[in-house]
């Protein structure tokens, strides 16, 4: 029998070819796409941010390794997902955050949000955002202190809420206070364009997010069609980073087109609700996390229409 097997050809079920894309490549593309925002953050906020970024990335990878080692699971740090989570977490932290807070954030992201629920592909909320929200509650003072160098005081978005005039040009290029990665709209959009070109993300979630948020601000922001006000809301805070990099996280967003659009619209409306009606100035993280939690429900609700679906009530084929 063994002799016979030697001459046998490889057999497998069809198809017999595969696309060259891998999970690891996707993670690397997303990391590359985050580099403009990362570089801008380092340039804008100073060298200390390098320490923040390295701490979250390295500790995330170490936590993933240790957890998998401890639980006798296959080690998956080479897929790049832990490093990406670490980077995303850093971009969502204030520029002068203490490093031990970063380590706690990485622990929450990797061990609590991701690994305890089954590892890659099983987490029910975005690990980086989950960790950010945990830190926001646990260390509210540190997490909302965006002071750096000689700049102190409320962020532009908070000033906008108090009806102050803000410089929208500064908001777009990123000359403002905020988390390390969220300030420059231009840097974020450059990275997002790269992801769209590489086919990693598409506009279904970001566009429905941004459009529904814009409509919400026009309708309920109290300033109507005030272009200056709407632009300030779009460019301020974490909206762009959230819409392009956080809400599009594969694991925690719906898989179908209908689901993606419902999810995007929900996040847009909730961001508007938090920003306009809640006490704080920002709400992107909470909006996306709430959206993440609703994904299983959205996938149940969004009706599935396969090719050639026949409505039992109407009859007749439809694509």
């Amino acid at each position: 029998m063994a002799e016979e097997n030697k001459n046998m050809l490889n057999v497998s079920s069809n198809p017999h070819v595969r696309d060259s894309i891998t999970t690891q490549k996707i993670m690397v593309y997303v990391i590359i796409a985050l580099l403009p925002a990362t570089a801008f953050g380092i340039w804008h906020f100073g060298a200390y941010t390098i320490a923040v970024i390295l701490t979250t990335v390295i500790s995330s990878v170490i936590f993933e390794y240790l957890y998998e080692k401890l639980m006798k699971l296959p080690i998956t740090i080479s897929d790049g997902s832990a490093a990406l989570t670490g980077l995303l977490l850093a971009l969502n932290l204030p520029p002068r955050i203490e490093l031990w807070v970063c380590v706690i954030g990485s622990f929450v992201a990797i061990v609590v949000v991701k690994q305890l629920f089954g590892g890659l592909g099983q987490n029910f909320m975005n690990p980086a955002l989950g960790a950010r929200c945990f830190l926001l509650i646990a260390y509210a003072g540190k997490m909302t202190n965006f002071a750096y160098d000689s700049f102190t005081g409320p962020t532009l978005l908070a000033q906008l809420k108090e009806h102050a005039n803000v410089n929208t040009f500064n908001m777009v290029i990123g000359n403002e206070m905020g988390t390390i990665g969220e300030v420059s709209v231009i840097a974020i959009v450059i990275g997002a364009c790269f992801l769209i070109l590489m086919g990693v993300i598409d506009l279904r979630i970001p566009a429905s997010y941004i459009i529904s948020f814009t409509l919400f601000i026009i309708l309920f922001g109290g300033q109507g069609m005030n272009a200056y006000y709407v632009t300030a809301h779009l460019a301020g805070g974490g909206l762009m980073l959230g819409a392009f990099f956080m809400a599009t996280d594969y694991v925690t967003s719906p898989i179908t087109t209908k689901g993606k659009i419902i999810f995007g619209v929900f996040c847009g409306i909730m961001t508007g609700v938090f920003r306009v009606f809640a006490s704080g100035a920002e709400g992107v993280s909470y909006a996306i996390i709430l959206g993440n939690l609703l994904v299983p429900l959205i996938e149940r609700w969004a009706p599935l229409r396969h090719f050639g679906y026949v409505d039992p009530k109407k009859g007749g084929g439809k694509a």
């Binding site: 046998m8 050809l9 490889n10 057999v11 497998s12 079920s13 069809n14 198809p15 017999h16 070819v17 595969r18 696309d19 894309i21 891998t22 999970t23 490549k25 996707i26 998956t76 897929d79 997902s81 590892g119 890659l120 592909g121 099983q122 594969y250 694991v251 967003s253 898989i255 179908t256 087109t257 993606k260 599935l304 229409r305 396969h306 090719f307 050639g308 679906y309 026949v310 084929g317 439809k318 694509a319």
Partner: protein, 458 residues
């Protein structure tokens, strides 16, 4: 120009440049010929020859075992050596008639056919049935059944499926370039059956010369038109070629005729033409022998029953030991573990690859990226279906319409986690269909028992 296409689908490397410019060459088989009695969907054919009988090419050796079945013909002259189980390309052992080739290639005299204009519809269908023609695109559904819909007058379109969306395959392309008149002739035979139908020759736009040639040859045919379809796999799927041409969508419970369509593959139409106008049965087919392990990739006109090993020799043999040999294309073909199998009516290609990519990829966790959803031409959610399949969860599998899967493999192709999505869904689909049938049968039996019981009481 309207764009003839569908949503979803993929663009794999097409590899057609290896063999597309190689003219069709006749191959004379040397060794024994093997004719499995099941080369089609439906009942196996019944052998009508005995061991020791002399046969000639074109002589019927097995007759259809029912309405959904097909006759089988000898393709060389010789002696019936055995009727025994033999390996077929899909891997099963099937009862086969084995003919020892006498090397003379004597052929029977065919009864002359009337000109097409004088033939009745019944005569045309009878000729197709007699010739043992089945869908030669791969499924092998008996063609005379396809040509006999409930209401022939409700057929609006006869579609010649010349998409050839499978990578590497060039057999239909060579047919179109070298025998376009036979293809058009076959189309005319089928159009004669359906008075209200328009003929569409549907070709993917990666074959502009074939589109140009057939458009030129059909420009004076009021009932035939050539459509250029956007190149995309699986454009050649029956449901999706109907949608691309007519924007009518059918599901797994419907037949093309429900959308007013009859679809036949390119080579099938050629076989129909030969059967109707010359009474020549289905004996030949075009086979592409290709892949990077083949020295001289080529297209051959092959007599059914020829051993695959002979085709590889004809193509110059291997330049390197292949890791995988596939009967058919890389997307839907069957991988062979043994080359000692015959060419059947549905063998479109023999693809020999130096490297078996599939054996090298490592499966990892699904990250819910949705590439499979975007690629699925049936608009299903393959990642979730595969998970439910692995758990044998019938309820959820049916809720997500798993039985609609056409098994095209697009989901597996695009998956970055390299999951065997199509394989899982395919296996579960068989179980789900079987279960549904068993339940329907049980319900029917119960209803009958109940009504019989009532009758007894009265």
């Amino acid at each position: 120009m309207a764009q003839y296409t569908f949503s979803g689908g993929i663009h794999p490397y097409d590899g057609k440049e290896l063999s597309k410019d190689k003219p069709i060459r006749d191959v004379l088989p040397k060794g024994d010929l093997v004719y499995p009695v099941s080369q089609h969907i439906g009942a196996p054919a019944k052998p009508i020859v005995q061991v020791g009988d002399k046969v000639k090419a074109g002589q019927m050796i097995a007759e259809a075992g029912g309405f959904v079945s097909a006759n089988i013909y000898a393709t060389v002259s010789g002696t019936v050596k055995a009727i025994a189980k033999h390996r077929v390309p899909v891997g099963d052992m099937v009862d086969s008639i084995i003919v020892e080739n006498d090397g003379l290639y004597e052929e029977v005299e065919y009864t002359p056919a009337k000109p097409l204009e004088e033939q009745s519809k019944e005569e045309i269908i009878a000729a197709v049935k007699e010739a043992g023609i089945v869908g030669m695109g791969g499924a092998g559904f008996p063609t005379h059944v396809k040509l006999s819909p409930k209401d022939p007058n409700a057929i609006d379109y006869v579609i010649a499926n010349c998409a050839e969306c499978e990578p590497y395959l060039t057999s239909d392309y060579r047919r179109m370039m070298e025998n376009p008149e036979l293809l058009i002739g076959g189309m005319k035979c089928v159009l004669k059956l359906f008075d209200n139908a328009k003929g569409i020759i549907a070709i993917e736009d990666n074959k502009p010369d074939a589109i140009e040639l057939l458009s030129r040859l059909t420009k004076d045919e009021p009932r035939i038109e050539v459509y250029a379809l956007q190149m995309k796999y699986p454009q050649g799927s029956e449901r999706h070629i109907i949608y691309a041409c007519t924007k009518r969508a059918i599901n797994s419970k419907m037949l093309p005729a429900d959308a007013g369509c009859i679809v036949n593959n390119c080579d099938t139409l050629v076989a129909i033409h030969e059967a109707v106008t010359k009474h020549v049965p289905l004996m030949y087919r075009i086979v592409t022998v290709t892949g990077d392990a083949i020295k001289d990739p080529r297209n051959f006109k092959v007599r059914c029953g020829t051993n695959y090993k002979e085709l590889i020799e004809e193509a110059g043999g291997f330049v390197a030991e292949p890791e995988a040999v596939i009967s058919g294309g890389p997307m839907m073909g069957f991988s062979l573990f043994d080359l000692d199998v015959p060419v059947t009516k549905t063998s479109s290609a023999l693809l020999c690859m130096k490297e078996d990519i599939v054996s090298r990829v490592q499966e990892s966790a699904c990250i819910n990226c949705g590439r499979c959803v975007d690629a699925c031409p049936e608009k299903l959610i393959p990642s979730q279906l595969a998970t439910y399949a692995e758990h044998e969860d019938y309820e959820e599998f049916n809720r997500l319409y798993g039985v609609e899967c056409i098994e095209c493999g697009s989901c597996t192709y695009v998956c970055p986690a390299k999951r065997q999505l199509a394989q899982a869904i395919k296996s579960m689909k068989k179980l789900a269909i079987g279960k549904a049938r068993a339940e329907a049968a049980a319900a029917k039996a119960k209803a009958e028992a109940a009504s019989a019981g009532k009758g007894g009481d009265a």
